[in-house]
């Protein structure tokens, strides 16, 4: 019974993704890459490859036509960025305006390291070996212990 349920469960997980992968994409390698890197502007977090929105289909046609005309990948991207802005690129450019976007995470990671380091260092101060007792202390301790025993 258990294995049957498992089987059904995984069967649907697998078939789901197979059915959803209708977006097998074009045979042309450049077209496939471009479809993946360009944003569908209607459903804004999908790539052209995944989208079947009418505008996405039109944009795919534009890309295909331009590839057939012999245009390069960057030429096609420039054409679309000129019209739709940088937003159409799913991966932002490495530009000065975007430096915070790209380097921000690294910056915050470094801050995190710094804070962790400072914290651990502070903690280690208290972990130092305690000083040995002085003779005087040793004697008074002995006294207390002896008293307790008797």
């Amino acid at each position: 019974m258990r294995s049957l349920i498992k089987f059904i469960f995984f069967f649907f997980i697998i078939t789901n993704s197979v059915l959803a992968a209708d977006s097998s994409g074009p045979k042309d390698k450049v077209a496939y890459e471009l479809y993946k890197e360009l944003r569908c502007l209607v459903c804004q977090n999908q790539s052209l490859l995944e989208s079947n929105a009418p505008l996405a289909l039109d944009l795919k046609k534009v890309v295909m036509d331009k590839i057939e005309l012999g245009q390069s990948k960057s030429e096609i991207k420039t054409f679309l960025v000129d019209r739709y802005g940088e937003f159409i690129l799913l991966k932002p450019k490495y530009s000065i305006q975007n430096f915070l976007l790209w380097l921000g995470p690294i910056f915050f990671l470094l801050i995190g390291f710094f804070i962790t380091f400072a914290f651990l260092k502070k903690q280690s101060v208290y972990k130092e070996e305690p000083l040995p007792l002085t003779d005087e202390e040793e004697n008074s301790l002995k006294k207390i212990l002896d008293n307790n025993v008797s």
């Binding site: 009418p54 505008l55 039109d58 046609k61 019209r83 802005g85």
Partner: protein, 186 residues
């Protein structure tokens, strides 16, 4: 000195918090829709497009937008687009009350349906061009209907409006820009 530094450190969380508040308040107060894209063509020449004629209606081309005495609007619409129907009333008002020249681009539409809309609801357009396969609109960077461009007297795009033009958009955004363009010296 060390004490002063410690004093400063205790304020760091407050400072960071204030910066975050300002950062988020900006989005809240400006009420910008992040899904709405700024036009990449702002302050640039209206791209060259080729449109076809819709029945007996006057056709327009890039020539009409260039070097005119008046600023004009270019409105992308379709009979199947519901927000366009909402917007229609305000396009009519702009034509009739404010004498604004509006050019219409009929986007991926069925000819008969488009004609029916113009017959039934009046025609706000000075001239109309048909973009049957949507390729001309891609040249304009259009990503949904309706969209409206304001073109100044030398044929440059001055503003792009995404979505229907409603009362507020007409009074507070479109008309002031038109007035501003009219006041500019050529």
């Amino acid at each position: 000195m060390k004490n002063k530094l410690k004093y400063f450190y205790s304020y760091v969380p407050l400072i960071i918090f204030s910066i975050l508040v300002l950062f988020f308040a900006r989005q809240l107060i400006l009420k910008e829709d992040p899904s709405e894209l700024p036009s990449a063509l702002l302050d640039e020449k209206f791209p060259s497009i080729t449109l076809s004629r819709l029945a007996d209606y006057e056709l327009f081309s890039n020539k009409n937008l260039m070097d005119t005495d008046n600023p004009s609007l270019v409105n992308i619409w379709s009979s199947w687009c519901v927000p366009c129907k909402v917007e229609h009333e305000f396009l009519m008002r702009m034509r009739e009350e404010h004498n604004i020249i509006i050019y219409g681009i009929n986007y991926k539409d069925n000819k008969e349906d488009a004609l029916k809309v113009l017959d039934l609801n009046d025609n706000p357009f000075y001239a109309i061009g048909v973009d049957q396969d949507g390729m001309q609109s891609i040249n304009l960077g259009v990503y949904g209907v309706p969209e409206t461009f304001i073109i100044d007297r030398s044929g440059n795009i001055r503003y792009r409006h995404v979505g229907p033009i409603l009362e507020y958009d007409m009074e507070k955004i479109i008309l002031p820009i038109i007035i501003k363009i009219k006041q500019e010296k050529l």
